[in-house]
Subunit: 139 residues, 2 copies
């Protein structure tokens, strides 16, 4: 049986695999079944509850072109029942031009029935060039 | 003694009080002392470790005008040793014009030595109008 950090890492990887596959069913399997889930996509207001979260994934998968999705710079923090994953998402349109898009992500998983399920996802674009636009931020 | 959810709520509130006070010392007190902290300000790359995080707060406090900071729509999830707070930040420049700025925030706290300390902060602007620019997001 996988240790908790391994299981969290696998759950996080499965999230990006479902994203790459643009498979709504797989994506829904990854999220906690309770209705207290929430999701913040870049430039969106926060989505609360399974219905809102699923509806958004459906729209994203319907509107996106095939892409490769992966994550880098993964940092995992595991406690009893709750885990934080901080990582950089890499999204590359297949056959597209230019550099892959990179997003900063915060993923939180909750353990229920022995399984780690996504409770919260927050993703935002990275600045194109490190250091750019970083002089006068507002928190 | 406060329960864990109460203590997490207090720690989260203290974060916004330190932000409003633009008090670097208080802000540093709120963060975990370990060097595995991370922070994502709107439009910034991820800051890793206490030095980077503190340096950014110093710059933010030096460059910002007096403001009121608070949070709304607070949702708290507490487990043994790790807690997630999802909330909306409200920032209002004192004497400024216009509506307060609102940010989506994901805050994660870790319990150490009986105290809840900030491990990770991720904040991004809310869309001005709910529903705007939400047709074709990229995760």
């Amino acid at each position: 049986m996988a240790s908790d950090p391994e299981a969290v890492e696998a759950a996080n990887r499965a999230f990006y695999q479902a994203l790459e596959a643009r498979d709504l069913h797989r994506m829904e399997e990854i999220w906690a079944v309770e209705d207290d889930v929430s999701c913040i996509h870049p430039g969106w207001h926060r989505l609360d509850g399974r219905d809102e979260v699923s509806r958004a994934w459906r729209a994203i998968f319907a509107n996106s072109r095939p892409w490769r999705a992966s994550c880098e710079s993964v940092r995992i923090f595991v406690a009893e029942g709750l885990a934080l994953v901080v990582c950089v998402e890499k999204l590359e349109t297949i056959g597209g031009e230019g550099e892959p898009a990179r997003m900063q992500a915060t993923n939180v998983f909750r353990k229920a029935g022995g399984e780690w399920k996504m409770l919260h996802h927050h993703s935002t674009p990275m600045p194109d060039v490190a250091g750019e636009d970083e002089e006068e931020p507002v928190n």
